[in-house]
């Protein structure tokens, strides 16, 4: 709730009228005064954080009350700013015009202090309440989103635990995916446009890419040597197993992250030339987010220590990828990788250091 005093703007070309209104409200509010519409607009502009209300006379030189209302309406300010017309006018047509232009209420002169205090005070209170609640709702929505992401991270980490990976791997994939995606958006904004919400969902989905590994037996998951063809066939099923897992929870299916998660789980091992698995998709058949996660996954595997290999340097990892040693990727994505290599290295080391993204 507001502790500091709010400000009211009083607009009237007659000093006496301003003085009377000033007297009515000075106990509760800070007061600003203006002599005509133009001054009123300047005063409103000078207070971007908002006035509690504007008390507006109609007949004024330079710019009259209706013109002020029109201007405020055009600027979209009438939604947050309550404007009261205060007028000696009693012609119904004139009054109607005031309401049509967006005045909250029209108060007739001569004013009665107690009534005007209540009428205007009530509206201001209501407005304050709405603004406070809006703020609270925004904060709660943010908290919920944050909690959601944490839960997904925990789940993914738990699954990664089995093959000796840590929570960091999961976070790195999210970081690298976001980085590469932003890179692609910058390169080709016509084709790749994602809003904040979509990016958040893709990030969450990226975290879950190896969900299916939970269905892969330990001996295969943690085998230090090369996998036999049969073992590899089983390993490959972690893609489709991930999808089965996602499908098995109704709550998950109805969540907006599902589409991205399913796609990424299934296709993060596809390759540009169609030689990936499980579906052998090629080129643009693979969604850009699945492509990006695939690349992030390969990069991360190269620069990290694994059961079956030592860690490579960042430069070597990028070289290997660009030389096609880890499968064929989208040429545009390769360009992006070239550009972002330095940044990727920095982010990787950062996650390492903080243990969080």
């Amino acid at each position: 709730m507001q502790e500091e005093r709010q400000t009211i703007l009083i607009v009237d070309d007659v000093e006496l009228n301003r003085a009377i209104l000033h007297m009515v409200f000075e106990e509760e509010f800070e007061i600003l005064e203006a002599e005509n519409g133009a001054e009123a607009l300047s005063a409103i502009d000078a207070h971007p954080s908002g006035l509690a209300a504007v008390l507006l006379d109609v007949v004024m030189p330079v710019m009259d009350g209706f013109q002020v209302l029109e201007e405020l309406g055009k600027r979209g300010l009438l939604e947050q700013l309550p404007v009261f017309l205060i007028t000696a006018e009693n012609d119904p047509n004139v009054l109607k015009r005031g309401y049509d232009l967006g005045a909250v209420d029209i108060i007739e002169k001569p004013i009665t202090p107690y009534f005007i205090k209540r009428r205007i005070g009530n509206v201001i209170q209501l407005n304050n309440l709405v603004r406070t609640q809006d703020e609270m709702l925004r904060e709660q929505a943010e908290e919920i989103r944050s909690l959601n992401s944490s839960i997904l991270e925990t789940l993914a980490t738990a699954i990664e635990f089995r093959d000796q990976e840590s929570g960091e791997h999961v976070l790195r994939i999210r970081e690298l995916t976001m980085l590469l995606l932003h890179g692609m958006m910058e390169r080709d904004p016509q084709r790749y446009q994602f809003d904040e919400e979509e990016l958040r969902l893709i990030g969450d989905a990226a975290v879950m890419h190896d969900l299916g590994k939970i269905a892969i037996p330990d001996q295969i998951l943690n085998k230090p040597g090369k996998l036999t063809p049969e073992e590899f066939a089983i390993m490959k099923t972690h893609t489709t197993q991930g999808c089965i897992l996602l499908d098995s929870v109704p709550q998950v299916r109805s969540n907006p992250v599902y589409d991205y998660a399913y796609d990424i789980c299934r296709h993060h091992h596809e390759r540009w030339n169609g030689r990936g698995y499980p579906d052998g998709l090629a080129g643009d058949e693979i969604s850009i987010w699945a492509q990006v996660v695939a690349l992030a996954d390969v990069y991360d595997a190269l620069v990290s220590e694994r059961v079956y290999k030592k860690a490579f340097s960042h430069e070597k990892a990028v070289d290997m990828i660009l030389n096609g040693e880890c499968g064929v990727f989208n040429p545009e994505l390769m360009e992006c990788l070239r550009e972002m290599a330095g940044e990727m290295r920095t982010r990787y080391l950062q996650v390492r250091k903080d243990g969080k993204s």
Binding site: D13, N17, V59, Y114
Partner: protein
Amino acid sequence: MDLNTMAQTLGLDLTGTLARFGGSEALLVRFLKKFPQDGSFAALCAAVEQGDMQGVEHAAHTLKGVAANLGLERLKEHSDALVAAVRKGETEGVPALFSQVREDHAAILSALEKL
């Protein structure tokens, strides 16, 4: 002259007007004494002289508001009549209506001097 007498002379609704000023006679008197400085009457005179009907309408309307706030009923009604006449296009009636407003105004000023 005290406030009550002045109110009677001018036909001012003291009780109603005082309510508007939080029951404070001192405050009402303070604002009444500002009335001669208010420019609406002067603006009205000028507009009438120049035959500027729109100016007459605006000035009379403003004067009406001021009069209403101070409880100066007669001035308020006569100003309102002037506004109505101009709006209806009955410009021949303007001089007569204006002289009434002028009379009211003079009476108020003279009473204020004695307050």
